[in-house]
């Protein structure tokens, strides 16, 4: 079974530029999560999709971050414009939409904003 795929693995941009990350979840997983992991901290949930719908985006900085999940499969997370404090690893995870809900994580995208 293929795991969660993410691209790119690394990205370096200057502040005020835009960037997009892509995620392809495990086949059949209805729930998709985007997390931000700053060095030394645990993953912080940015947005959670169930199929096409958003079930939680309370911690997504909506003035600069956006995310979509078309057709309930792939998802894209965008940052525009980027700030220095956005430097982090962006993790995508997926799970089935019922108990036991354990999440399967992709390798992450390490973003550096200079």
């Amino acid at each position: 079974e293929a795991g969660v795929a993410q691209s790119p693995r690394y990205k370096i941009i200057e502040k005020r530029q835009s960037v997009a990350f892509w995620c392809n979840p495990i086949s059949g997983h209805a729930t998709l999560y985007w997390y931000q992991q700053i060095l030394g901290q645990g993953p912080k949930l940015l947005i959670q999709f169930q199929n096409n719908g958003v079930v939680d985006d309370s911690q997504l900085p909506k003035d600069r971050f956006s995310a979509e999940r078309l057709k309930g499969v792939d998802s894209t997370l965008k940052i525009q414009p980027a700030k220095l404090e956005d430097s982090a690893v962006y993790l995508c995870a997926s799970s089935i939409d019922r108990v036991p809900y354990e999440q399967y994580f992709g390798p992450g995208t390490r973003l550096t904003v200079t």
């Binding site: 999560y33 997390y35 030394g40 901290q41 645990g42 993953p43 912080k44 949930l45 959670q48 169930q50 079930v55 939680d56 309370s58 993790l91 995870a93 939409d97 019922r98 108990v99 036991p100 809900y101 354990e102 999440q103 399967y104 994580f105 992709g106 390798p107 992450g108």
Partner: protein
């Protein structure tokens, strides 16, 4: 708001000794609880979960965790540590709704010395 606390940033044990990585949580209602492990340069991996039933749950690589409702704790344990267990461990809690939000702790670095 739900939260997870991992009171120790670092745990050091000698190979062959038992290990404990501590986790306490706060959530409305009954929790689903998880442990994840992150090896260097690798993604987060699911280790074990508590959903319901026996308070002692067993997971991958010989790890187990004990759920204590009165103390709101979910400590990770292993009877005999291996050098290869050295990694970053995250505790996570999810509330028991279909669209429950997951909250992670900030992680504990486990170092097992030969």
């Amino acid at each position: 708001a739900q939260s997870v606390a991992q009171p120790e940033d670092q745990v050091n044990v000698a190979e062959g000794n038992p290990l404990t990585v501590k986790c306490t949580y706060s959530v409305s209602g009954n929790p689903y609880l998880f442990w994840y492990v992150q090896y260097p340069n690798r993604g987060l991996q699911f280790l074990l979960k508590y959903i319901t039933g026996d308070n002692l749950v067993k997971g991958s690589y010989g790890f187990e965790a004990e759920f204590n409702k009165s103390q709101t704790s979910f400590h990770l344990k292993k009877p005999s540590a291996l050098v290869s267990d050295s990694a970053l461990y995250f505790c996570a809690v999810r509330d028991q709704t279909n669209a429950g939000k997951s909250t992670f702790g900030d992680g504990t670095t486990l170092t097992v010395k030969p």
